[in-house]
């Protein structure tokens, strides 16, 4: 019997599994949905495929049968696993959770990685709120102390670089732009499915690159016939006000009463209008709001009194809070997403061609990113046994005005959340910039020195101190498949992933910092050559044997050059190195190459589709390790037992499987960590200068190894109406290759060593249910939950703590012995009988004598997501709620913002019912809750002045619970009825949808910010400085199929 498996729209369903009911006979359809199977007349064929509900068809006496499968989002049947191997569920003895392409592309978000949040158990996604910012992707916890912990992205069996080029300063919150991760180059419309391989056994065949788990992307395969899909969408956004500052409106600019000639007034004094009477001048050179109480009768000369083009030039204005606070700075982001995807095929071959254009405008003025994604793929059947295929993807991304991050004058959130004067009207700054096109700032140094003190006019900053960037990326794969016999497939494949990027940063003449221009050219390339033989044969009627033998040659090359002007620019607005005031110092160059040679083999036995035994071994040889230690092996063994096969009579049990596996995965060293080299420094008057590098390299490094064990159970009940998949895992990474921080009395910061071990253990559960299912109405629920416990078991001999990052405010992120990775340390309160001790001289909290007290932990306790989807006839509604519970975050925004008097808490009434900002003599001041050194309740009243509620307190006071519950996405879509569409030639289908993302933060604990907001992807989490607000987005999309 032969036939074809299609979906409800008549498109081929590739690789469906076809079995003869009641027997063990089964085959897989090919990628065009075609199959041939031996079956007796009148037997029933069972069809199943990833993302579809199983269907049964009685073949009667026909020799051709076609089956139409309807889509389903519950437990999947065929899973794409390592190296593109497709496995039926029974034959997959490890955790591999699959998400359909539809699921990740339907929100029309340009970065599909963010769409995985909450959809996969054990996957921790953390995204930044900057436009085009990076996304942190961690599977089953942090495994390496200072190395890369990001999951590996693999597209159609080939590694796809997801690096980010953010600088060390950017990642530690010292400023710089977040240029995003390279995985955002993948076209969501080209994604057929995403499989997350979580454990080492599943990803062992990817070698060291896969040691952090793998996000496996299968792109769309070509179907028979011609299909054209057009998507057109537009997105508008709005800032979620709960994630931005709320300002107090009672006190204006200043730090206290120390202005004027005698340093004892709230205001500066000068005879501005020349009438011989001394006038009040606002202390606009400050960037705090601990100044004079607002009083509309008080006339004060403000910054605009010194701007000759201002309507208030030379005029005093009432001393009041600004009508337009910084919330009015944000503009409505609008994005457009247009895509067309054409695919077609015949017996001889197939092709696909896709183009997506994305234009995003950010919430900040002068910010946009445009993306062009072009995908082409084709296959040709040269002979029935030989197939050639190739894909080429081109991505072009252009960014302009990405948001500054961290503690920096180019991150206006630092300005608005930490250092601001609430009397400054943002819209008046806007007018001033557009009137003058110069840095007419609210923050003049003084009435006599009209230059910026700490902060530029925010509009000047956006329009003049901007970055721009571009990245062109080519990702191409060519392969040849030879199938000499039915059970053997030999594949040769060559692939190249390469991108060139340019990042230019500008600091205009007239800015608060020295004008400059810098450019960073970065080129990355990765080339893979694979030769893989796969066999799949039923040795007996009961035993299926699969085997794999392969080799890969992997080469990676990263080359960059960063150059910057020296001492300022000569001509304003000319951004060229040649416009440097002084001779620029030599640019910083980097040239890193690495090569890994791999051999691997695997074997799988399946008995009666019930018991599966699987073993793999891989040998890697890496150039980054010393010659003597550069080869390492890693084995994996797995077993699966589909016990439901033993219970055919239990009709309530649709499916039941137990699985267990153990694997060891090795990892090599970062490039250039073996041999020492010096650091050359610009010469001093012709005399060369050099220094010993801060990190001591190590010629005796060995590979680091992660051993991991996993056990799981999958069950489905009541005709697959409800099912769950649960895994327990434990992994331990030993001999971590780490630049261990040493006592700097050694003359070094750190030394590369094989030091320490980290353990991760956890539980993952995903549950699928279909509470209601009728032909017209269905309701599906999908729940994902995971909990990871991480512990640093060992550090370098004698070491108890390893500092990962040193942030502003003396807060550090650490790997501490016996603690979870990501311990936040800083200064703490001193406690007496559980109460905070207050100094009886200053009235402030006593700070712990050291700054290395544990004050938090960046790891969440658990993460989860619930997706509900309802379908009534052609109308469907789905919404995803995701949550992260536990984990801490330190907020530099609150640490400074509370200290500079921006927030309503800083103007609260005191215990006497008086304004706390009044002097103590006037009944003001505050009594901090706590005790004195003897444990008696604190009665010491101190003035509520600069710093008191902020940075004069222990840093522990600004560590917040980072838990959240978010309504992440909600989608309503409507498919025009077939009856209507069929009349609308040439359309085959029209779907309209309305998509909302980040709609509502249902619960959070950090004030005025999004707990998920972070500075960059990478290991350094748990810290916010200049956090961007969340943007709620609403998208309208129309999808046309021809």
């Amino acid at each position: 019997v032969s036939g074809r498996v299609t979906d409800a729209q008549g498109k081929a369903v590739p690789f469906a599994s076809v079995t003869v009911k009641g027997t063990s006979v089964g085959v897989a359809a090919d990628e065009n949905g075609n199959f041939t199977i031996e079956a007796a007349p009148n037997s029933t064929l069972v069809f199943s495929a990833a993302g579809y509900q199983a269907a049964e068809v009685n073949i009667k006496n026909q020799s051709t049968v076609s089956a139409s499968l309807s889509a389903q989002s519950s437990l999947n049947e065929v899973v794409v696993t390592a190296l593109g191997i497709r496995r039926t569920r029974n034959q997959t003895p490890y955790a591999a959770q699959q998400v359909t392409g539809e699921e990740v592309s339907k929100t029309r978000n340009a970065n599909f990685v963010q769409n995985l949040s909450g959809k996969v158990a054990g996957l921790d996604i953390r995204q930044t709120n900057t436009m085009g910012g990076s996304t942190n992707v961690i599977i089953r916890g942090t495994k390496s102390i200072t190395g890369n912990n990001q999951a590996l992205f693999v597209v159609d069996g080939v590694p796809y670089s997801n690096s980010n080029t953010n600088t060390a300063n950017q990642r530690t919150g010292r400023g710089g732009y977040d240029y995003g991760n390279a995985a955002a180059d993948i076209n969501p419309d080209d994604i057929e499915s995403v499989t997350v391989l979580k454990g080492a056994a599943a990803s062992a065949l990817y070698g060291s690159q896969g040691s952090n788990g793998v996000i496996l992307i299968t792109t769309k395969k070509n179907a028979r016939g011609l299909g054209i899909t057009v998507n057109s969408g537009v997105t508008v956004g709005k800032v979620d006000k709960s994630t931005f500052a709320t300002y107090q409106k009672q006190y204006g600019a200043g730090y206290g009463k120390f202005y004027g000639p005698d340093e004892d007034k709230w205001f500066n004094e000068a005879d501005v209008n020349g009438d011989g009477v001394v006038d009040l001048v606002a202390p606009f050179h400050e960037d705090a709001s601990y100044g004079a109480k607002f009083d509309p009768n008080l006339m004060v000369y403000q910054w605009d009194a010194f701007d000759p083009t201002s309507p208030y030039f030379g005029k005093a204005r009432p001393w009041v809070a600004a009508a337009n606070d910084p919330t009015t700075f944000f503009q409505t982001p609008v994005s457009s997403n247009q895509s067309v995807f054409i695919d077609g095929g015949s017996d001889r071959g197939s092709f696909k061609l896709g183009y997506t254009r994305n234009d995003d405008k950010g919430i900040l003025p002068n910010s946009k990113i445009s993306k062009n994604l072009l995908n082409f793929g084709g296959t040709y059947n040269i002979t029935p046994k030989l197939t050639a295929g190739a894909t080429i993807n081109f991505t072009n991304i252009n960014g302009l005005g990405r948001y500054g991050t961290g503690y920096d004058d180019k991150n206006l959130m630092t300005n608005f959340r930490q250092w601001w004067e609430v009397n400054v009207d943002v819209q008046e700054q806007k007018d001033a910039y557009f009137r003058n096109r110069d840095n007419t700032t609210w923050n003049w140094k003084s009435a006599n020195r009209l230059i910026a003190n700490f902060w530029d006019n925010p509009y000047f900053s956006r329009y003049e101190n901007y970055e721009s960037d571009s990245r062109n990326r080519y990702f191409g794969v060519a392969n040849l498949n030879f199938k000499p016999v039915e059970w053997l497939n030999i594949m040769g494949r060559a692939s190249h992933d390469g991108y060139n990027e340019l990042q230019e940063e500008r600091q205009a003449v007239g800015s608060v910092t020295t004008s400059s221009y810098s450019r960073f050219n970065n080129a990355f390339s990765e080339t893979n050559f694979d030769l893989i033989a796969n066999m799949d044969k039923n040795i007996t009627t009961d035993i299926n044997f699969k085997a794999l033998l392969g080799g890969t040659l992997n080469k990676r090359h990263n080359e960059s050059i960063r150059a910057v002007t020296n001492g300022g620019l000569i001509v304003p607005r000319v951004y060229a190195l040649s416009n440097s005031l002084n001779t620029p110092n030599a640019p910083v160059e980097f040239d890193g190459r690495r090569e890994v040679h791999s051999l691997y083999a695997g074997a799988t036995f399946t008995w009666r589709e019930m018991i599966t035994l699987d073993g793999t071994i891989r040998r890697d040889q890496s150039s980054t390790l010393p010659k003597d230690n550069n080869t390492y092996y890693y084995p994996s063994v797995s077993a699966g037992f589909t016990f439901s096969k033993l219970l055919p009579s239990a009709t309530w049990l649709s499916y039941g499987k137990l699985r267990a596996n153990y694997a060891r995965v090795g990892n090599d060293a970062p490039v250039y960590s073996v041999y020492d080299s010096y650091v050359g420094i610009a010469p001093f008057g012709g005399n060369p200068q050099g220094s010993v590098a801060g990190t001591k390299n190590n010629p005796n490094l060995m590979p680091e190894l992660t051993g991991s064990f996993e056990a799981g159970v999958e069950m489905a009940f009541l005709k697959n109406r409800i099912g769950f998949d649960m895994s327990y895992y434990r992994s331990k990474t030993d001999d971590l290759i780490t630049p261990v921080i040493l006592s700097t009395a050694t003359g070094y910061n750190s030394k590369f060593l094989n030091a320490g071990s980290i353990e991760n253990k956890g539980i993952e559960v995903s549950v699928n249910g279909t509470p209601v299912k009728t032909s017209d109405f269905s309701w599906n629920i999908n729940v994902n939950w995971s909990k990871n416990r991480n512990k640093v078991l060992e550090l370098f001999e004698g070491a108890e703590n390893l500092v990962l990052a040193d942030f502003q405010a003396g807060v550090t992120l650490n790997a501490s012995l016996g603690q979870p990775y990501g311990t936040i340390r800083g200064s703490n309160y001193v406690y007496k009988n559980g109460e905070k001790v207050v100094s009886q001289t200053s009235g402030r909290y006593v700070l712990s004598p050291t700054s290395n007290e544990v004050i938090g932990n960046a790891n969440p306790d658990w993460v989860g997501g619930i997706n509900n989807s309802f379908r009534y006839k052609n109308l469907s509604l789905s919404f995803l709620v995701d949550t992260k519970q536990g984990g801490d975050i330190f907020s530099l925004d609150m640490y400074y913002g509370m200290g500079t008097g921006l927030y309503p808490e800083t103007v609260a009434l005191n215990d006497l019912g008086n304004p706390s900002r009044n002097t103590i003599a006037e009944g003001g001041g505050i009594i901090l809750p706590g005790v004195d050194a003897d444990g008696k309740p604190n009665a010491k009243r101190r003035s509520n002045s600069e710093g008191t509620l902020g940075y004069r307190q222990p840093t522990a006071g600004f560590v917040y619970d980072a838990s959240y519950i978010k309504l992440r996405e909600a989608i309503i879509s409507y498919s025009l009825p077939k009856s209507l569409v069929s009349k609308l030639n040439p359309f085959k289908g029209i779907d309209l949808s309305l998509i909302g993302r980040n709609l509502w933060i249902i619960d959070k604990h950090i004030p005025y910010a999004d707990p998920e907001e972070t500075i960059s992807s990478g290991n350094l989490q748990g810290y916010q400085s200049g956090a961007y607000p969340t943007t709620r987005t609403f998208t309208f999309n129309a999808k046309f199929r021809f």
């Binding site: 340093e263 202390p283 002084n582 650091v679 040493l742 009395a745 050694t746 003396g810 550090t812 940075y951």
Partner: protein, 449 residues
């Protein structure tokens, strides 16, 4: 494939020496609030809006860590590298010996600041990558060893032969000057421990003077910076290039200068808007404009860093004479020479110096010599806050009041770095106990009063 093609594996020894000299001068000269805040502690300067460092907040900006790292990692490590490479680099035996001696003097000089700032520190096990967590040695033992090393280095200098040449940013390879420097520094080291071991101080000072110390401002150890980054004076970076208005004169210092019509005041500071000189009260938030600011001459990119000078040498000799050491001349003559040298260094004249010295509050007072010398050191060591701090701790003059709203007592040492607490905990704790507590108020062995 494993060798970094963009960074050298070989460099001449002089490259490390030059870089170490510049790093050392940067660390001593810097006014960066993350690194060198001694000008604030000794109340030469005062901060404007953010007086945290003036109030001795060392922790938030990890100033104690940064100071430690700058000296161990950025100076001594590179000097050690230079020493290791010199024998292979330099053929001429005398030049080789001279270069090693100069490098050794520079290293001893650097250790002096570490040991007088923290107390017990890693020394015998320091700078050894095989000892990642070095033990701390007793400060006095280290100090005595440094003195022995300094003597040996002086003995190895051959004034007729060459040194580092132009790679020597301080003396351009002039070994005669280096010998004077080493001896003058020996006087400084000896006088630092005069309260603890007067006999040893006497022997050392007398030997140094006999061997030859600084005799004029021409001998001063200065490093003249360039006007292009990264080789500029760090004060220019902090005060001018940054565009910030963080510092004004401290009232304590201004009042003291005004009290005796100090001719250096206009070299130190700018006039305030009224034409006079005014400073802000230490620790109190203050406005920038009404106060006096750092003189623009000092904030020029090429303004020299000063490592050791004739004025302080003369003031040390005045004290030595007062203590009865045989250094030639009298306490008064050395005192007057020191004050005059300082005034001339800053641009004043001998006549101005004489008029200044003639005033009752300025003229040398043998009855309270600690006050006379202490106050003049405090003034002469303007812009050299670290040295001013060491001398203030030792001489206890001028009698400074702690800053307003201070977080602690006035520091008489630095607490150990947070990194040491985190990484080298066992040795850190032993050291903290040995010196009597890791606190800013713990007095070091030579600080007797």
């Amino acid at each position: 494939l494993n060798v970094d093609p963009k960074n050298p594996a070989i460099l001449p020894s002089s490259a490390f020496f030059t870089n170490a000299q510049r790093s050392l001068s940067n660390t001593l000269t810097s006014s960066n609030v993350n690194l060198n805040i001694f000008r604030l502690i000794v109340q030469h300067w005062q901060e404007t809006q953010y007086p945290e460092e003036s109030q001795y907040d060392l922790a938030t900006r990890e100033i104690n860590d940064n100071t430690w790292n700058a000296l161990y990692r950025d100076v001594i490590r590179d000097l050690r590298e230079a020493k290791a490479l010199i024998p292979g680099d330099v053929k001429d035996a005398d030049v080789q010996k001279n270069r090693l001696a100069v490098t050794e003097v520079m290293e001893v000089y650097t250790w002096y600041y570490l040991v007088t700032t923290y107390g017990n520190i890693p020394y015998s096990e320091a700078l050894d990558i095989e000892k990642p967590f070095p033990k701390y040695d007793d400060a006095k033992t280290i100090y005595n060893d440094l003195l022995t090393r300094l003597d040996a280095a002086i003995g190895n200098i051959k004034t007729g032969a060459g040194g580092f040449g132009s790679a020597d940013l301080i003396y351009n390879g002039d070994m005669t000057k280096w010998k004077k420097f080493a001896n003058s520094f020996k006087v400084k080291m000896a006088m630092t421990i005069a309260d603890d071991d007067a006999a040893k101080a006497k022997t050392l000072v007398e030997a140094a003077v006999a061997s030859g110390v600084f005799t004029s401002n021409a001998d001063n150890a200065t490093l003249v910076y360039q006007n292009v980054q990264p080789n500029t004076n760090p004060i220019w970076v902090d005060l001018v290039n940054s565009g910030r208005d963080d510092f004004v004169a401290a009232s304590t210092f201004i009042d003291s200068l005004l009290a005796h019509n100090d001719p250096r005041i206009d070299n130190f500071f700018t006039a305030d808007p009224t034409g006079g000189y005014s400073g802000a009260e230490p620790g109190v938030q203050s406005a920038y404009e009404p106060n006096s600011h750092v003189n623009p001459n000092i904030t020029k990119p090429e303004f020299p860093g000063l490592l050791l000078d004739y004025a302080e040498t003369e003031l040390f000799l005045a004290e030595a004479a007062q203590r009865g050491f045989n250094v030639g001349g009298t306490a008064v003559s050395h005192y007057n020479a020191g004050v005059t040298a300082s005034i001339e260094y800053w641009g004043g004249t001998a006549a101005e110096a004489a008029a200044y010295l003639a005033q009752p509050g300025v003229a040398y007072n043998p009855a309270n010599w600690k006050k006379s010398i202490g106050v003049q050191k405090w003034i002469a060591l303007y812009n050299r806050g670290w040295d001013a701090w060491i001398e203030w701790r030792r001489l206890d003059y001028p009698q400074l009041e702690p800053a307003h709203d201070a977080l602690s007592d006035m520091p008489v040492r630095f607490p150990y770095p947070v990194n040491e607490q985190n990484v080298n905990r066992v040795n850190f704790e032993a050291a903290a106990e040995a010196i009597g507590g890791d606190d800013v108020a713990t007095k070091l062995w030579w600080d007797k009063f």
